[in-house]
Symmetry: D2
């Protein structure tokens, strides 16, 4: 970055001037320039020879250089660069979960920070469409034919990203009746297959949720207590309503109550859950769902504050991925019209179909909003469990040696 | 881009299905997949082998891999990628001006669109700081020492960009008492020197403004008419005020009037202009300034609508470059504190000093706001000049053969 | 705005100091404070007594103040404030079209600037969801019950906005099987009905497009020339392909050609157009469609540069309205889950169904991307028509007296 | 918000349908419309009669309606609306600190969420300038005179906000040599004076930092241990360097070491701290500074994760306030030029002078970046203190009754 002073010579130790007054007349001229003294320089560090030489216009190669193709290339390269970063963060988070380090609560800050960073990158990527949208359909038309058959369906990193977060093979919308992996060959195809088999972020979060302290049947037994409280609450409501004089309102309230009872009966019905799971309408195990709801209800407990933030960030990622898809659809509509696509393809409609809850990996975290209850129905923690929650998993002996660099 | 259908096989002709109803059941599955039939594929087209393999962590090389260095690298690479694009647009605009094509008004759309694209990219670059800000000072400290002596001051593209837009050598704030070019060696240094000698965007815009139709002394003679109208207007104000009964308000208004007269006297004082020019407080020639003010006042004339948009976009670029610098300063403050910098450097103060009107290339376009006058003081166009403005430079014989691809 | 100096005392004339050097030591202290001298003050000007006293929490009225309700109110008020501004711009643009002023090309800058402003406001409104998303489903649940039966469906301004832009009654998705106007009573309902009958932006743009110079059958006759050129072009392609030796590629190209011919045959089929129009799949008249395509193809002609920008901005508005809807859906999903809604409602699914091309008013401008052709197929302008385009509608006698304030 | 279904009728209990399959054909039509059944409606709830009737154009009152004044008013109203929200959040956070509730760590989520919300609002406010920037200097000139003497300096809420966060009276840049409070009269002026005397966010955070567990001299005694470790570390460095053969590099490293020692000597010099405090160059007490550095170094301890996030968000607010000021300056430059301002005022220069570290309330949190040390110099926690940190302030007996609504 231009003139960025934190990019500077440091020997064996960190070097700072003692603070002086802010108004220092010559503060901006006091340094010694060490750029010439050996060590790595900016352009080499960033491998800019690769980065800024990678823009080859097909239209130019074919003797008809079209100005806007350059933007097209750079924009897609910027997307891929950021996909690389997202994958790097995602892999590091998955690694923390896989190695069990997340049981050491000290790692939660790291997990949260990195997931939040993915959120921030996605926000940028959504905004980035505004740049490509400075190209009109007419500009695009001029070089479109030269791209054949290159296709965004061939973005390996994007598919890996979907796989590693947890978009399952069987919920994908096929494109032109073919499997998404058919767009890739050899090594790439194998790599994709491999990522389908690795533990996804969804799976790892699920396992972590299943371990939520307080779920133990022989302990606080959150789920049973919750069920009792809810149906107690509903029964009290019913009694109240029954005492009302007959009226349209009474009838309405009673019918509402019946619906509520049905709703909550469904929540506590494990078989129904498994059925929805098999259809892809739920994605978390029954136990994990319990853990998530527990974190929701007790989010202000110190032990659950950071986990609650994590669940929120996971929803952010889902939302932003889906907004990215939608922005993409909008741009494609503008570039090629709704009926377009080539060779009989149907890109616009395909893309629209991927802006769907089927692609929302953490859809259960959203849908839990359906099962909220008044605060006084939430089981009270007793002092023991309160303390327990607070200390949970704190006393591993390894905390002093845990590594910060990974 | 994932699943992007406009990236698709096209043979000799553009291929689209005839539109059918939007609800097409199988619209999303109707295509034929041609990815396997030869031609260039996505990853090769974008040279992703270069792009996503260019992240080498110095901390890792030195045996102490620090996670956040990856973000640091990717962010800077993304900046350089976009700088490349900005330079590409800037060069194409300069080329249109240099080759005289801008006299063919048909090129104004292109110029405007590309300058506007630079605006949009800068907006993204300003927002992009939010991503790097997910790294804390503590994270940065862990790998900072490995970067030595790489420095953002060594960003060749950024310096070229400044030069080509029109940041002049003599207005630059020196860094550590050294010339900015001393951070570069050999070929890079020569390239920088070369760009200092090329016509800058500022210079080219200046020449274009000097040709503004209506400035001709033997024609509409805008400048003289304006001067007459303004001083007429001021005189009438004076008479009006003089007729008022004595009061504090009258006095105040009279003193205000005197200031106004001084202000406008200064506007029409060419020597004073040249003096300010020599000090770097003005940057456009006297004639160009006249052209700019003319475009301001007659911006609604069809002939001047697009030129007016161009002037507005040039201010946008200036403003965004300065916002970029300021965001950069804020980030550096956060990363290394205000007193920091290394080896006796003074990065924070240096950077702050570059967030200055000295670095605003089109500062005159902003400062013209000081010289606005009521609409009825603006000289009226007569029907002839009106028509003239409208037809200006339209009748070149070459328009049919002008190339759109460049 | 805090410390905003452009908000300052000005008497009868505009008052500026003569410029001096930028480094003016005391430049920041040289003024005279006139705030105390009478005239309107900031808070009264902005009617802040109304604006900042309009936050009454229902939860507080009902004895259970919930903190986050304040954010909920302020966010919605901010939306309504901006809707007011959008309506103000929209009405002024419609007024220019209705009064015929747009025929005076001098008004195009105004039209364009105001439409672009709507674009910028919509961008802000899309971003604004990020603020409301700091409220979680659990926070919302705490005061949700107090809002009954207030509903966003009752936003009068939003419905008026849809009507005035051109969302037609018959393409609206019904909500709970009821007409959208049933959410409104008395005066509001009548006002909505009235706006349904006013000329929409779509209608006005359509009429303007129908007047595109160059469409005249007894003049340049763009449409006929285009048809001839396209089918000539296709025939030449056919001949070329027929000369190729038999191969799979040849067959493919021939079948592609057939599709192209079908596609363009459909473009020139007025009956088909009217059929699609009756189904709501097209929204512009046949003649207006021709005008739009003409502006697309000749966008670099000085006469068409600003009209082309206008068409682009209209697509921006459509896209942003649809992104706004989609962001809204995402937020609702997060707040109440996918199955939620109350009283048997189905808000999430309803909202999802409005994120549809049915609500894209200028959908034809997008879909024209399907009908682009190589530049050499576009009919050449002869010098006369070129000049004509350039001078079109310039010579109205009223330009000198046209009012800038409206 | 338009069509927003979470704004809907709810009786005594929360009402949700039992989940069914996502593909529900008629899911979007299943509801019962209850808007007509009494209760509050949308427009009344939001008091839209006040909000959307508060746009009175001075130019219109004076018989010369200028279109763009409407945007000017709405933009400033939107700013004030959001200032109201920021103040609401800020007051609630200050209240939690004042009442001592923050000692109950359960309140930290609330504090963090609300501070983060302020961050998100500020981000929007920074972006919002893009809307007002669609107005040019020339448009503004047309109605500027009618605003006199209304001035943004008179924004009561903005001044209150500055006061409550902690911009101190004595660090303010005077405007036209007058005290900022002189722009206000009567009740407003008194209110401002009152807010100067209330505990600022800075003060409250300072007190909270002073209580950071681990600072106790008779306990973990962080500060003494840190001092010992740092000087031990520096001494070991020195020995290492002394063993090197003489060389330029050795000399340089030794001189660097001397600077480091000076730097850290200054850190542990309480008198020097108090001196800087008295000059306004530091803003936190010596003890609070220790607490902040402790949170920095042990940020991964579960007990310190959320506090660390809070410190980060406080820096975000500072940065965003300063970006807001800078964006404001940029817009003013564009609207009135650098030399402008009226009645001898000097708005642009005044505003530029407020974009200064003097207005950064939490400047110490930035400057602590100067005092970072390698991780192995940070004193190790022993198992006891580790546990202590983790349990700190957990066992208040009141947790069950703590109120969530405030």
């Amino acid at each position: 970055m231009s003139g960025c002073p934190y990019f500077e010579k440091r020997h064996l130790l960190f070097k700072n001037k003692p603070p002086s007054t802010e108004e220092d007349e010559d503060a901006s001229q006091a340094g010694v320039n060490k750029a010439s003294k050996g060590g790595i320089i900016y352009g080499d560090y960033l491998q800019l020879d690769k980065i800024v030489s990678a823009q080859v216009l097909q239209s130019e190669l074919k003797g008809n250089k079209i100005h806007d193709e350059h933007l097209f290339i750079v924009t897609h390269q910027a997307y891929e660069l950021w996909f690389k970063q997202i994958l790097f963060e995602l892999d590091s988070v998955r690694e923390i979960f896989i190695s069990g380090h997340v049981r050491d609560e000290r790692n939660m800050l790291k997990v949260n920070t990195r997931i939040h960073r993915i959120v921030m990158i996605y926000r940028l990527l959504v905004d980035q469409f505004a740049v490509l949208e400075t190209m009109t359909a007419l500009d695009f038309f001029d070089f479109r034919e030269y791209l054949s058959p290159a296709s965004g369906f061939q973005s390996l990193q994007f598919r890996i990203l979907e796989n590693k977060i947890g978009v399952p093979d069987n919920l994908r919308v096929p494109y032109n009746r073919r499997h998404y992996r058919d767009n890739f060959k050899g090594h790439d195809s194998e790599m994709l297959l491999a990522t389908e088999k690795e533990p996804t972020l969804l799976k790892l979060v699920e396992e972590w949720l299943e371990r939520t302290p307080g779920l133990e049947v022989d302990g606080f037994n959150f789920w049973e207590r919750l069920e009792i409280n809810i149906f107690d609450g509903l029964n009290k409501e019913k009694e109240k309503i029954e005492k009302m004089p007959d009226s349209e309102e009474k009838e309405e309230m009673m019918s509402e109550l019946v619906k509520q009872r049905e709703l909550f009966t469904s929540l506590f019905d494990e078989k129904r859950h498994d059925h929805l799971l098999s259809k892809g309408e739920r994605r978390l195990s029954y136990k994990a769902l319990q853990g998530a709801l527990m974190i929701y209800f007790y989010r202000e407990e110190p032990r659950f504050q950071v986990p609650f933030q994590l669940l929120t960030s996971l929803m952010d990622i889902d939302t932003l991925m889906t907004k990215w898809r939608y922005n993409h659809v909008c741009m494609v509509h503008r570039m090629i019209g709704s009926k377009a696509g080539t060779g009989g393809s149907s890109g616009y409609h395909y893309l629209r179909s991927t802006v769907s809850d089927r692609y929302k990996v953490f859809v259960d975290l959203f849908n839990l909003a359906t099962f909220l209850v008044p605060r006084h129905w939430v089981p009270k923690l007793n002092p023991n469990i309160h303390k327990f929650l607070y200390m949970a998993e704190c006393c591993d002996s390894s905390y002093c040696s845990s590594e910060d660099s990974d």
